[in-house]
Every structure is written in structure tokens, then in C-alpha cells.
């Protein structure tokens, strides 16, 4: 298998502006060409689009709008982890030798049909994600004594981190007190414990080890990949206080990359709700089971931004099909040393965790400089 690296990236600001999905996508493709030396449209073998949009043939539309005539063009849809799954598909095309250069383009509109999985009738009349989030939270509180203050620290930390992210949806931060007093949605989920869907696009250029130096002097390598789908329906989660797909996917990614949790310098994890960050820290092996809250408290009190430095989904916003790609771009820029005020010193290894539909599936990537 060929080594696969990241050669360039592009983002749009996350907003609720009225803009078409096609325009969003092309807006994040342009910086790919601005940022890669010697890249021309003819170099691109594969164009993959990541979105839950009902618009059709988007990979071909974006290719045409960008002047690209790729060998392969299609979309990848997997609700909230469409983005990283799209990156894995592009990786597979390159590592197998079918392609040398792949452009991955993710975008979503605020009114995305991917927000609720209508198929899952086992959720009954409680289809909205706040309900599974609330049941996860109840279970974690019962099992490990997690508190509402613990949850508020996740959101406060990530909103604080997002202040240094110029692409973030939010223009200001929220304090611990504002989060504690924000609107109650259920007895353990407040409005500011939730990530907010929005418009946004993120694109990334992958290339094989054979050609990547043509486009960049600082390639970042995808060293580990783990994916796991437990089910589609929420009620197949046996233990509501942990995310089994995440622990299994991360185990595969660690094994493939010969990296252990203690080697990870910076993490972008899927904080769809505050409880998800606490559970993900535990299931990724970064904190002991039941100690995720203490880990977050330490980050919060010491201004440590190594977990979700761009603000995560809660701080930056959550345009579903773009989210996994935006997370990967953050890891890429951190390893390149180009994250400005968000930069984690001497970051060499990064982990990206992206999941869907109450962690019924998870994708984990490990990147190294």
C-alpha cells in the first residue's frame, strides 16, 4: 500500500448565510489551489463530496465548476461522520494505486436532512438528538457521578478555544455561568451543551507518497485509520455510558499506526453534546473510564487547548458533511505548526474522532508529521 498524505486544505467560515451547497463547496476548493504549489486541475484523479444534502451529482457538479475532469467522482454520506469516511474512501483510492491525487470536499446547509435519522423507529416520538444525548448523560451521571458543572466545563472550554478560530460560527464565547444558566432542554441537557448546525464547507487534498512533494514541502501523513459501525438504531447501544464504536475504531487506528494514546499531542473529537466529549476521552483511551470529567476540568482550569483546539463542534459549529474534514484540517495545520494562536507546541501526532447517530458508528484517524 502506498503512503497517503495531506497536501493542502481549504475552509469557509461557518455561518447561517443563504448560499447554495454548490457555492459552499467551490468556496473551500479555491484555497486548495491557492495553498498547493504547482497544483493544476489535471493533477486530480478523484473528487469526492461529503454531504447529507438531497442535491444530486454534487461531486461531478463541483468538478465541473472547478474545471476538473477526474477519473472518479461520487458522494459519500454517513450523517455526521460523512467527512472522515469520505477521507478514508479517498485514502483507499490512493493507497491501492487506483489514484495519486484526490480532492475531498465536504459541505452542509443549516437545514440539512441529516440532522435526524427518520429510519430509526426505535427512538419512538423522541427522534431529536437531544433525547439520546440526555439518556447518555443520565447513564454517565448514574455510573460515574458526572455533574452538570462537569458538562458546562466542556462547553466553556470549547467556546473559549473557538475564540481563536476565524472560521467559527460563534462570534463570541460563553462563560461557565452562562452555560450553567442557559435554556434547559431536558433535565441534563442545556442549549449551550449542544453543537449548532450551520452552513459550512471544508476541503482537503490527499496525495500519494510518489507525487505529494510536487504540491507541498510539508506533507502530513495519515498513519492510522479505524472505523466501526455497531448499528444504525440508537437502541442497539448496550452500554449508554460509553461509545463502543469509538473504542473499537480507535483501537484499530492505534494498532495500524503503532501509536498509543500517550503519544497523542492534539485531538479533534466529536463533541456533538457536552457528554460526548467526556465519553470520547474515555473511549479513546485518553482518560480512564469515569475520569473524563476530571480530565476536562484540568484542561479548563489550566487553559490547555490540546483537546478540540478549534473549539470542537460546540464552539465552532457543526455543518455535518464538512465537520470531519474541518476536524482533520485542524489536525493537519497543528502538525504543520500553522495554527497561530491555537498552536499546540511541538505537536507531532494528532487524532481525529468523528461519529454519527449517537455513536452507532465512529471513525478515527491518526496523523503524523
Amino acid at each position: 500500500m502506498k503512503k497517503v498524505g495531506i497536501a493542502s486544505s481549504g475552509m469557509t467560515k461557518f455561518t447561517k448565510d443563504d448560499i447554495s451547497i454548490e457555492s459552499l463547496m467551490v468556496a473551500s476548493v479555491k484555497p486548495i489551489f491557492d495553498g498547493a504549489k504547482n497544483l493544476t486541475q489535471k493533477d486530480i484523479d478523484v473528487v469526492l463530496t461529503s454531504t447529507n444534502s438531497n442535491e444530486k451529482y454534487l461531486a461531478n457538479i463541483v468538478s465541473e465548476l472547478s474545471g476538473i475532469s477526474p477519473k472518479t467522482a461520487h458522494s459519500v454520506e454517513s450523517l455526521c461522520n460523512s467527512g472522515t469516511n469520505c477521507i478514508v474512501s479517498a485514502y483507499a483510492y490512493i493507497s491501492s494505486g487506483l489514484a495519486d491525487v484526490a480532492l475531498v470536499v465536504g459541505a452542509e446547509k443549516n437545514d440539512s436532512p441529516g440532522r435526524v435519522l427518520n429510519w430509526d423507529m426505535s427512538r419512538g416520538q423522541y427522534g431529536h438528538p437531544i433525547y439520546w444525548s440526555s439518556l447518555f448523560t443520565s447513564s454517565h451521571i448514574r455510573k460515574y457521578g458526572t455533574t452538570m458543572e462537569d458538562l458546562a466545563r466542556v462547553s466553556a472550554k470549547n467556546h473559549r478555544n473557538a475564540l481563536n478560530n476565524p472560521y467559527s460560527y460563534f462570534k463570541h464565547s460563553y462563560s461557565f455561568e452562562e452555560i450553567m444558566n442557559s435554556e434547559t432542554l431536558t433535565d441534563n441537557v442545556r442549549l449551550l451543551d449542544c453543537s449548532m448546525t450551520c452552513n459550512g464547507s471544508a476541503s482537503i487534498l490527499l496525495a500519494s507518497e510518489d507525487v505529494i512533494n510536487k504540491f507541498t514541502d510539508k506533507p502530513i501523513w495519515i498513519k492510522g485509520i479505524g472505523q466501526k459501525s455497531i448499528s444504525a438504531g440508537f437502541t442497539k447501544n448496550n452500554d449508554l455510558a460509553s461509545m463502543r464504536s469509538t473504542s473499537l475504531a480507535s483501537s484499530d487506528a492505534y494498532q495500524l499506526s503503532h501509536v498509543s494514546p500517550s503519544d497523542i499531542d492534539v485531538v479533534e473529537l466529536h463533541d456533538a453534546f457536552s457528554i460526548c466529549e467526556i465519553m470520547a476521552l474515555e473511549d479513546l483511551g485518553l482518560a480512564e473510564k469515569g475520569k473524563g470529567s476530571i480530565y476536562v476540568k484540568n484542561l479548563y482550569e489550566t487553559n490547555d487547548n490540546r483537546i478540540n483546539p478549534r473549539g470542537g463542534l460546540i464552539g465552532a459549529g457543526h455543518p455535518l458533511g464538512a465537520t470531519g474534514i474541518a476536524q482533520t484540517i485542524e489536525a493537519y495545520q497543528q502538525l504543520q505548526g500553522l495554527s497561530g494562536k491555537r498552536q499546540i507546541e511541538r505537536a507531532k501526532t494528532a487524532l481525529v474522532h468523528n461519529m454519527s447517530a449517537a455513536a452507532t458508528s465512529s471513525t478515527v484517524l491518526i496523523l503524523q508529521s
Binding site: G124, S139, R142, L185
Partner: protein
């Protein structure tokens, strides 16, 4: 509406069961998800076990398990404090584009 949805609308919770290995196939499907055997419809017991719950305002909702295999989220009605593992009764089900389930604490049922 399909058969399952029509039965739910008539306050009747049915599920597909494999004719070959007898596994309950939930959510209902045309084939068994274990052995791909053909399935038939059968009535589901109204007895459920409470696995977890939370509140939205005064409304309690929770995840319950029926017949040790089927898990659903439904409304939970109770006049006393709930405990995990308590036995509930399926009081009502319905379908209006979404499945709806209402469960009641068994001791409340007995006291009526």
C-alpha cells in the same frame, strides 16, 4: 402505511420473528438479521424493563427493553420515583408518521 405501522396505530405492538431461528427482528424487517430466514408477525409482550430515563420538563422519557430483545424509547408515566430495572407496562402505542410508545410503572397500573 405498512402492516407494522397500521398495527401500531391500532394500539397493537407487533414485531417480525424468524420462522427458522425464532429471533425477534427489531426494527421489523422482511428477513431475519441473524440467519436471513423468512419472518412472521407476532404480538409483543406488554411487559418492559426500564433501562434509563430522563425528563423534558414534567415529561419523563426513557429507554426500555421488551422480551429481552427489543429496545425502544417511549414516554414513562409514573406517580412515584423511577428506578432502573423496574417493570413497566406498555400502556399505549400509536403511529402518526413516527412510532409512539407510552409505558406506565406497573404498580401504578395495579392501583388503578
Amino acid at each position: 402505511m405498512n402492516r407494522f405501522e397500521l398495527e401500531l396505530k391500532n394500539n397493537n405492538f407487533i414485531c417480525s420473528e424468524c420462522l427458522r431461528c425464532k429471533k425477534l427482528v427489531w426494527p421489523p424487517s422482511d428477513y431475519c438479521d441473524k440467519c436471513f430466514g423468512n419472518v412472521t408477525w407476532r404480538q409483543i409482550s406488554k411487559i418492559a424493563i426500564l433501562l434509563e430515563y430522563s425528563y423534558k420538563g414534567n415529561e419523563c422519557f426513557g429507554i426500555v427493553e421488551l422480551e429481552g430483545q427489543i429496545r425502544v424509547i417511549g414516554a414513562i408515566q409514573s406517580s412515584s420515583k423511577l428506578q432502573i430495572g423496574q417493570q413497566l407496562i406498555l400502556k399505549k402505542c400509536d403511529y402518526d408518521g413516527k412510532a409512539k410508545f407510552v409505558f406506565e410503572l406497573q404498580e401504578d397500573t395495579k392501583s388503578i
